[in-house]
Symmetry: C2
Subunit: 225 residues, 2 copies
Amino acid sequence: MEMTELDDQDKCEKMRVAQLQFIGKILSLFTHQLNNHLAIIKDSVGFLDDLIKIKGQFKDDISEITNTMIEAEEQIEKATVLSKRLNSFGHRMDNAFSTFSINDILDELLVLASRATIQKRLSFERDFSPDVPPIYSDPSKVHFLLFCLMERFLKRMKAGGCIRVITKAKDQGCTVCFAVEDGICDSEEVWLCSDEVIEYAKSSLGCKTMENNPNSITLFFEGMG
Amino acid sequence: MEMTELDDQDKCEKMRVAQLQFIGKILSLFTHQLNNHLAIIKDSVGFLDDLIKIKGQFKDDISEITNTMIEAEEQIEKATVLSKRLNSFGHRMDNAFSTFSINDILDELLVLASRATIQKRLSFERDFSPDVPPIYSDPSKVHFLLFCLMERFLKRMKAGGCIRVITKAKDQGCTVCFAVEDGICDSEEVWLCSDEVIEYAKSSLGCKTMENNPNSITLFFEGMG
């Protein structure tokens, strides 16, 4: 019986990892296809610009055309940056364990989660130490844990607030801190994930809570040393 | 001891579901942001078209400009369709169980996996019965299972081959069949997922294999009846 239970847990873990690898594969296929479309759109808009300059004789000033062209190009660029981060996010699922920088993981999260800040006009302020050592861990579980903790601030913050995201090197590992200077309201919210699962994720990652206040939380991740 | 093992399996399952919900949330944020960019690009290109017609006096024919405009609009449309499927794919992860049509699940997979067919010029042929009854199951695990099985054909098919995807109503449930008429080569391949995990996924979904040949496989999913 004990053996069966262990097997079941083992199967469940294998299922989790395999399902993440599948999603990573789909995201990789998606972003390659999207990048292809975006590249052609970019080329088309650039080509239009050339054609208009070569072939057109315009009655009055063409600033409206130029500005529209610039607007389109900016949006193509933003979509490309977003797609690039989704590609990285997906590739974190390729392996259950890998070596990565916590700064890259946070950068992916902050870019991909930017939509969550729009309605309340929230903003992120990054204070990433370039000296944080790489860590060897489960990168998609780290993504998950950091997003769940950040979400609790995002949902509780007042409109216009700013969340500081700070990384620092510490004892051959690194710390990640989310801090809100003001603007926390105590409204009850439905969180993406229960406390129980967050604690389970933390313990399975060997991640420790250094401080946990209404306005800030700091986690410690062990390095490879 | 038994109790602890059960708890661990329970935690593992909760972790799997929570992690999928997180990815679903990220994909929802991503696709909303991407759709926003694509909508502005589309508007800009449409506006450029208007401006050029109103303001421009062109020396020679403008078919090149018109064609480039059409090309850009087509690519924006394709990117929008892709993004829509990724949005649906992500929302399948919102709940561990839901009621869905197997046809919709397959449509999402075939659109999102289309990039995997380009290199070998493979194609999908859909033969979906509109009469398949809805099933109540774990939609992202069904996505996973169907993709893993389809991947084994995609990797073994010769260039230019076609894979038929057939759904049918059967005994208050439905069947899904992947069939390749010819062009299977027996090259050894590394699959995304092991047989063991596929069997585990099938048994946890209550899904039965009706037939399994080198050129085709048919699965049965129970309906809600």
